[in-house]
Symmetry: C2
Subunit: 320 residues, 2 copies
């Protein structure tokens, strides 16, 4: 069975552990978000790709959900002693080695997809991890504060401002000129099932879908497409997805996010959206997504067994 999943960071990675457990023999392709990428201290940092790689490769910090287990922050402490910021980005020493290897490979001319493949030789995540694009896409957030209206990097909004300063809009800079990385479109076209994990629908899944060709490939694939709601009872399970949804004018509810993705309507009419199925929590059982089937089961990924059960419910909804 060929499974293709779009994924952001922490939530997506946990869900993917469940996919791997539910389908140990499947050929799993993960299309990772790179809109969170940032260059700091001359180092190219890909937080979401690394979170997937570390989580599936056994190197993630179980406590934080991002960065490395047994991490130290000596370099960051020294950079601060030189007065070199930003202080709001948690740059661990172990993590930094990944960025050094990646930056050197990129500087040598290797595309990001090759770099990710090289890093994954060490981590052996058990999935084929692809960046959404080899071109640089960076999500910026338009905010208004005492300094007026301005665009800041998503990471600054997310980490320094904790997404508390309202966003006027969220823009994946460079996305319109980006092309899907090698293998991305094929992985969507050839899949037996496409999964949208409970990642952030705006800055994770939304950014991936903003790369020209990817949304169309999801909409057109012959495989069933099933999404899992990141919203339970009107609140994001984790992270600050509500601030992102508000910025794009979507209510923070399982139903609104499902309708934002939209049903494919394959059983009745023209395809207008992406979803054949939308899995929600029982508290949201009344959710309606025209053109998609809705099913409910508890969606808190409390441990691997529970996460695997969630994945099985999504696969069941997909009919595979």
């Amino acid at each position: 069975m060929k499974v293709t999943a779009l994924a952001g960071g922490i939530g997506g990675s946990r869900f993917l552990r469940g996919v791997r457990a539910a389908l140990p023999d499947a050929d799993i392709t993960v299309i990772g978000n790179t809109g969170d990428d940032i260059t700091l201290h001359g180092l190219r940092i890909c937080p979401d790709l690394d979170t997937v790689m570390y989580t599936l490769g056994g190197g993630i910090s179980a406590e934080r959900g991002w960065g490395r287990e047994a991490e130290t922050f000596v370099v960051a402490e020294e950079l601060a002693a030189y007065g070199v910021g930003p202080a709001w980005f948690g740059l661990g020493d172990r993590d930094l080695a990944t960025h050094l290897v990646r930056t050197q490979m990129l500087d040598a001319g290797h595309p990001l997809s090759d770099v990710v493949a090289a890093l994954c030789v060490r981590w052996a995540p058990g999935v084929r991890l692809l960046p959404m694009s080899d071109q640089r896409v960076e999500t910026h957030v338009i905010i208004s504060d005492e300094q007026g209206q301005r665009a800041i990097h998503f990471q600054e909004w997310w980490l320094r401002l904790r997404a508390a300063t309202p966003a006027t809009s969220i823009v994946p800079l460079g996305a319109e000129k980006a092309t899907p990385a090698p293998g991305v479109l094929d992985a969507l076209a050839d899949a037996d099932v496409v999964l949208l994990p409970p990642s952030n629908p705006v800055v994770s899944i939304g950014t991936i879908l903003a790369v020209p060709g990817i949304r169309e490939a999801v909409a057109k694939t012959s495989a069933p497409v099933v999404g899992v709601s990141p919203i339970i009872g009107g609140a994001a399970v984790r992270g600050m997805a509500d601030a992102c949804l508000t910025a794009i004018g979507v209510e923070t509810s399982a139903q609104a996010v499902g309708q934002h993705y939209g049903g494919r309507g394959r059983t009745g009419g023209a395809a207008t959206g992406l979803l054949d199925g939308w899995l929600v929590d029982p508290v949201d059982a009344a959710t309606i997504v025209p053109g998609a089937a809705v099913a409910a089961r508890p969606l808190l990924m409390t441990d691997l067994a529970e996460t695997t059960a969630i994945v099985r419910a999504a696969l069941e909804l997909a009919g595979v």
Copy 2:
């Protein structure tokens, strides 16, 4: 009093602590060797400049004499886990932050001399530290082994091969096209005394002197020039200076090194060398350097008090 010293790494830095202690009110300029510089993992590393900066700034590892106190090696361990070498270069985490800051500034177009000045804002070494040149000079060593004759970076010869593979020659690549960094020639011309610490006469002092204009400026300065022998009783006090001297056909003795620098002969005849005075250990009291005065006193820099006394003897020999 204006003191200008040429300096390599560990030996030079220890000597400079003595200079600062002997002349607390002096205006001290240090012209540092950059021939040991190397780019690893995309980071520009300047071992000798950093050793001077850390030693005089209170950040040096007292035990090793290079690198930072309370150093950790987490990033290096991770790079090794990715299979990325070289393993023979000790890249500490604290040290790495310095290289990150430097590399970013260099990449942004700042000359090395400005970078050094910026780093010294933190370390406040109590001297004006200048790189010998803002241009890139890298010492390479020609060796012959089972792979035939080839040139390797000085650091590989020094650290990986422990200078045990004989060098056919030692070449400061790029030196012939380099120019002295801003302030270097003035610091030599305007000095009240010029000191050659007991640094490696080939790959430290010799490399600095290989930058066109610097040897001439030392030879022509009106200030007395006094050197301190790095050789005691036919052996290098530390390091593997003997292997370097052998490569350039100079005997490992205080006299041979003194004669290699050469006396200036200011009291009798044409200037043919660099030294007005040559300070040796009592075991080498019979040393003769034509054109230079030779004095003897114990030269082991066992602690700061003893090092300061050595500096005082050098200043006395200089007549300042």
